[in-house]
Amino acid sequence: MSSVRVQEEDFSLHDEWQACRDRLAGNAGAVVSFVGLVRERSNTGNVSRLYLEHYPGMTETSIEQIVVKAQQRWSLLDIVVIHRVGELQPEDQIVLVIIASAHRADAFAACEFVMDLLKTEAVFWKKETRDNESVWIESTLEDVSRSQEWQE
């Protein structure tokens, strides 16, 4: 099972976690969840706003491809990915990943894998506003190297 959503609206970790639990109906031994937040401090200054643009259709497909890679690599029962787009502010929730598996090692590893690949392969463009200046940003070297580490 998997679910990928790209949306402007905020999400509720509790509601999504409960919905995942309900779908699993007692089969899982582990549910790992991750929530990413918009940081106030970037490498280049204080961020007052973050704008995420996406390509409807292609963005969802790019995330679904990451989900499939995770499913091929680990034994997983459910994956939920929700990614927000549009105007966000520091401390806003930006991404949710929930992964359920029979044993915790699979869910922990797959959650980190999905997040690392989201940072480099998901079709988004980000614009930061800092000190009254808006700048389109690029993937960081750290993001790229974390993603490459999974490619063996």
Partner: protein, 88 residues
């Protein structure tokens, strides 16, 4: 000859969309044009007086799949041009 050209719709995203000032446009190109020829047409149309468009820095998706610049374009293709993705 008219029949030897096709009109295609092209979408732009992110900084490219801002630079061009449009999110999509219709362009007429010769039949059997490649992505590279389309990019040059866009550069001629929008970037004559500036260095707004650095073709080598752009990425192109046809029907929502990333393609190389030698890909031949067809009339019903969905074409999108954008800078490298930032990721989520």
């Amino acid at each position: 000859m008219r029949s030897q050209s096709i009109t295609i719709q092209v979408k732009f995203f992110a900084s490219l969309k801002e630079s061009l000032g449009v999110s999509q446009t219709n362009l007429t190109v010769p039949v059997e044009s490649t992505v590279d020829m389309l990019l040059r047409k866009i550069q001629d149309t929008y970037g004559k007086d500036s260095q707004l468009i650095d073709i080598s820095s752009l990425r192109v998706a046809v029907n929502q799949q990333m393609v190389e610049f030698d890909r031949v374009i067809r009339e019903d293709d969905e074409i999108a041009i954008f800078p490298p993705i930032t990721g989520g």
